[in-house]
Symmetry: C2
Subunit: 358 residues, 2 copies
Amino acid sequence: MAQQHLDPTDPTAQAVPVSGDALAGYLRAQATEFLRSLRLHRETGGGGGTPARASSSVGENGSDRSVDAARALRRSARRISGSLHTYRPLLDPDWSEGMRPELAWLSGTLAREHAYSARLERLLGALNRLSGSGSGFPAQAAGPGASAAPKGNLTIGAAKAGALLDRQLTLARTRAHSAALQALGSSRFHAVADSVAVLASEVPLTPAAATADLRPPAAAAEGRLLDAVAALPLLTAGHPYNAEALVHGLSADTAPQPQDAPWHQVRLLLRLHRYAREVLYGEECPVDVRLLGAGQALNQHRDAAEAASAAASAARTPRIAPATAYALGVLHADQRHEVEAARFAFQQSWQKEAVPTL
Amino acid sequence: MAQQHLDPTDPTAQAVPVSGDALAGYLRAQATEFLRSLRLHRETGGGGGTPARASSSVGENGSDRSVDAARALRRSARRISGSLHTYRPLLDPDWSEGMRPELAWLSGTLAREHAYSARLERLLGALNRLSGSGSGFPAQAAGPGASAAPKGNLTIGAAKAGALLDRQLTLARTRAHSAALQALGSSRFHAVADSVAVLASEVPLTPAAATADLRPPAAAAEGRLLDAVAALPLLTAGHPYNAEALVHGLSADTAPQPQDAPWHQVRLLLRLHRYAREVLYGEECPVDVRLLGAGQALNQHRDAAEAASAAASAARTPRIAPATAYALGVLHADQRHEVEAARFAFQQSWQKEAVPTL
């Protein structure tokens, strides 16, 4: 269980109980935000059109605002779902058990399009950096007609790798976009939206919840986080250039790296802990810089791990040129090193003293 | 010029002058060591036979002792050459100017065989590590008959990459071995050996050298080192995971990375400084742990940079399989990260306080 508290100002460590009213208020606010984002998403063309790039260079148009609306929708769906999980003893069990998988399905479906878009942007950015060119990446220079120089010009390999990733991830993003549209038009989605609409006015608390103390379940969420962090190889992670993240870089196993799983798990638990804190603090929830830094490092970890996996996967495309495969190998290793860098950054954030933020 | 001294106990910073006699004694000792190693090299079959692997698993046979003898020969050749450079105002200029390029030619020729052997060992070790296998690397599993699985088994890619590197670097080593044998039988070599034999009994000091002070030329060597270190990007190097070393990992330029050159230069200047100290201190030269650590980091830097370059070069072999090229790309990036790790290690060694070692 929890051996240290993340923040001495955390109400879970304080004497004043926080009651179920705080939970009801939080859930109502998140449900309202969910409905607002949904309305905005529909108004900004989220119900159709071409998928938008994650890039902000597109400008402030309907497509951009639709992306923002989808992000806000996911954001509130995650918070509702997380709070239902952490504070489940205080909620009607049938209702909350039925609601959580539906919210997870929705936010997962909505997240995919953005994830492919961001992954492509990350990989093209990395190829650009690895090519040592300060200017834009010339992916368009590598059409089907482009052929490698006799000695194998690696820049052409990088351009071809970029074009291949662009093709594959754009296709995946388009499919994710269609799937999201289909989901938003489905009766399953309408049932979720209806449940959230009910939640915005009437939170199904148990009879005992009004006088129950929110601090024990919040402390339990924190405890699960601290236990999971304690099981991470932080000693290794804190030693720069430990070369751990690439250890299975060439193994035959094409499944996601098993060494990443505990880090992904901590990322989810850290998020649940953050949401649990938001419920306790309400509107005045102070920003914990340490949690913020640790969370950002774990997001980087996840993004880099998935990008590395996409590069490895692209390298298994049949009939690619050796120069393309070489560039994808360099790219894979580069992203696995970003994974290692993210673990180091997490370790550095985490080992900082918890400083009172109030 | 020098802004700080590396070691407060360094005689260059002290009041008592060290005269040319110390230089004569040092050069005589190194020349004697050179002749002893040469005799040992001839006795242990250094004049023929098959090239030896750098691996120590060969056992204590004639071939191993020949490798040791060649190493000792290079070691004394470098020290003589370095001292002639640092203390050239105290030596007969015609003689020392004629001698240095000949010693550089000799130690360069002798070093090549060992370098290819060590590079192959490093690269196969890295492939083994990247394949996540604790046991030996199955390079023999990837004969010409081995073919990639339909989806492209990356372990086969790694094995094929290992077999390709083995073939290319073994060929290079065999050629270097022949070149070294040819060099040791040449009249050019006999002239060098004759000059060293003269040096073992009679060091050609200038008339003024007996009363000259060795400290100013030694301090100048240190100054050149400190100036070169001051020009290194140590701030970046001290920031882990700065991703600098791979910045040109996919650029079209196949020449050695220009960013490595200043580090290689510091490696040479550090060596000259060490030899200059040996002359000043004589037999009792204390080990400076800081210099030792910095020097080892720069050796790692050089080895990793050359291994990365060998992997990139192997990837330009015509008609290789994409899986082989992919594995070589991962390997290249891995070694460039070792380059970055070595720079970090150098920065860490260097920033330590110079501690008196006497």
